[in-house]
């Protein structure tokens, strides 16, 4: 039994969280599709709890100055740059 329901408002809310604007047609389309896809994902409820004994180790390198991109290269794909900095829209 699925408790998954996705309405247009919820799609708009998630789109806001994800910082992606959607037009009205996309909202309608996604709402219908998400209901199907999330219902399908509900089958994960049947997955047993599994002991995951991953052998994880932290991999660190020494914190040393290395060669890197020049400031000019790093800025080369920016739409706008000023005085060696990226220039973005204002933060409100």
């Amino acid at each position: 039994m699925s408790d998954t329901s996705v309405d247009a408002e919820e799609v708009r809310h998630v789109a806001t969280l994800a910082r992606v604007d959607l037009d009205d047609a996309e909202v309608e389309e996604f709402a219908a599709q998400f209901a199907d896809i999330l219902t399908y994902f509900d089958a994960l409820d049947e997955v047993p709890e599994v002991d995951d004994e991953a052998e994880l180790v932290n991999v660190m390198r020494p914190d040393e100055v290395r060669e890197s991109l020049s400031q000019e290269e790093a800025l080369s794909n920016a739409a706008e740059a000023e005085d060696g900095f990226f220039k973005g829209p204002k933060v409100s």
Binding site: E26, L44, E73, S76, A78, E80, K87, P89, K90, V91
Partner: protein, 442 residues
């Protein structure tokens, strides 16, 4: 021909002065792998004028090996798709039948090799994106063990799942390219030390070979499979098209004639692999694609107003439908109240799949299945229903969840269309699957 099939996003030749194993060899590079000074779009309008200031490690290794790069191959936008129809630069067509899709997301790479536009190609495989188009285009594609090939310079989609992998016309050619690109890289901490890989490699014969510069995957393509045990997971055959199954079973019979013992095995967990794969991949995508804000790179749109609004409008324009769909679903799966229901459960399923494979490899050397459960669909046929499209990845995604190596090798044809056979090995068991695949070729 290349123009008709729309194989390349950018067709430009980069020669190498180096003398190496790929001298005189042409290679197509998937357009999500960074090439210094050569536009890298990821198949997205968001990056249509992005020119990386550095080479990916695999591209450096190609150049050091003497390869000539002939272009950046078309792909599903950011690697999201199974047909190479979601590219902002239009769909690629299958060289075998231009009315059909080449498979995805590395469809341009596979088509380049199938059409003779390149001797070899690099793709990326997050849930089957090398093996799927290899199967649909009738070429060989290898998805390496996670950590064998550096991802430095790959524009990330789902870091924990993806690997760069080679395409070739033959198993030996694809393996030669794997020799060139594999091995530890100081710029990718997930690449593994050769000694760790060595202890796990080639369990059947007990021989130990190192990865990296000292690897010799190409010479493993010797076709010697006498005495090998191949397990066939019933779950990966049951749902497949009858025509595909027939070709698959004929190929197994050929292997048996060469001294292979086949046995049925069960992988109970794979029934949940597709759900787990998409939840994890979408979650990682929602995080990875947050970097495309139009400030450091990506389309800015030039909007006024505050940062969040201008960012959201630029992304509305820059991303295609499938990318938005996955970012939104990933954001949803990670959001408060749903994390335990989707993301945590998906991680449980992932561990379960890994355990299932480990158990299977206690009794068999390699596993075999059809690569794709279907024949290549016609262009446009499968785009309307994303869920149906996700289901076509059922045979390939379990391998990525378990970080295992797998290869797709042409097994024959059905209705004039290629059918791929997938061979899966234990971690760092590349030699064994390459050897077995070379026997399928014979």
């Amino acid at each position: 021909m290349a123009a008709d099939l729309n194989i390349f996003v950018t067709e430009e030749t980069v020669e190498s002065d180096a003398d190496g194993p790929l001298s005189g060899t042409t290679v197509a590079v998937k357009d999500n792998i960074s090439t210094e000074g050569l536009r890298t779009t990821c198949g997205s309008a968001m990056l249509d004028d992005y020119v990386p200031p550095y080479d990916a490690t695999v591209v450096e290794r190609l150049k050091d090996a003497g390869a000539t790069i002939v272009g950046k191959a078309n792909m599903d936008e950011f690697g999201m798709g199974s047909t190479t129809e979601t590219s902002a630069f239009g769909a690629t067509r299958n060289p075998v039948d231009p009315e059909r899709v080449p498979g995805g997301s590395s469809g341009g790479s596979a088509a380049a090799v199938a059409a003779g536009e390149a001797d070899l190609a690099l793709g990326t495989d997050t849930g089957g994106s090398v093996r799927n188009p290899a199967a649909f285009c009738g070429v060989v594609g290898i998805k390496p063990t996670y950590g064998l090939v550096s991802r430095y310079g790959l524009v990330a989609y789902a870091n924990s799942l993806e690997q760069i992998g080679p395409f070739g016309s033959t198993v030996e050619e694809a393996a030669t390219l794997l020799d060139v690109i594999s091995g530890p890289d100081a710029n990718d901490a997930t690449t593994r030390d050769a000694s760790e890989a060595r202890s796990a490699s080639d369990g059947r014969t007990g021989t130990a070979r190192e990865t990296g510069t000292s690897s010799d995957y190409a010479s493993a393509a010797d076709g010697d499979v006498d005495g090998l045990t191949v397990g066939v997971p019933t779950e990966l055959v049951d749902g497949a098209d009858d025509r595909v199954v027939e070709v698959f079973e004929d190929a197994l019979s050929e292997l048996e004639a060469q001294g292979v013992e086949t046995t049925e095995v069960s992988l109970e967990s794979v029934g949940h692999a597709v759900q787990a794969y998409y939840v994890i991949a979408m979650s990682e995508a929602s995080s990875n694609l947050a970097r495309f804000d139009g400030v450091r790179y990506g389309k800015s749109g030039g909007y006024e107003g505050n940062w969040n609004e201008s960012f959201a409008r630029a992304r509305e324009e820059g991303f295609g439908s499938e990318v938005k769909r996955r970012i939104l679903l990933g954001t949803y799966a990670l959001s408060a109240g749903y994390h335990d229901k989707y993301y945590k459960k998906a991680q449980d399923a992932r561990a379960w799949v890994a355990q299932d494979f480990d158990a299977a490899f206690e009794s068999v050397d390699v596993l075999a299945s059809p690569t794709m459960p279907v024949l290549p669909p016609k262009l446009g046929e499968s785009l309307d229903d994303p869920l149906q499209l996700y289901l076509t990845d059922a045979n390939t995604v379990p391998v990525n969840l378990a970080n295992l190596p797998a290869i797709s090798v042409p097994a024959g044809e059905a209705d004039g269309l290629p059918v791929g056979l997938q061979l899966i090995g234990p971690k760092f068991g590349e030699e064994q699957i390459i050897r077995t695949a070379s026997a399928v070729e014979q």
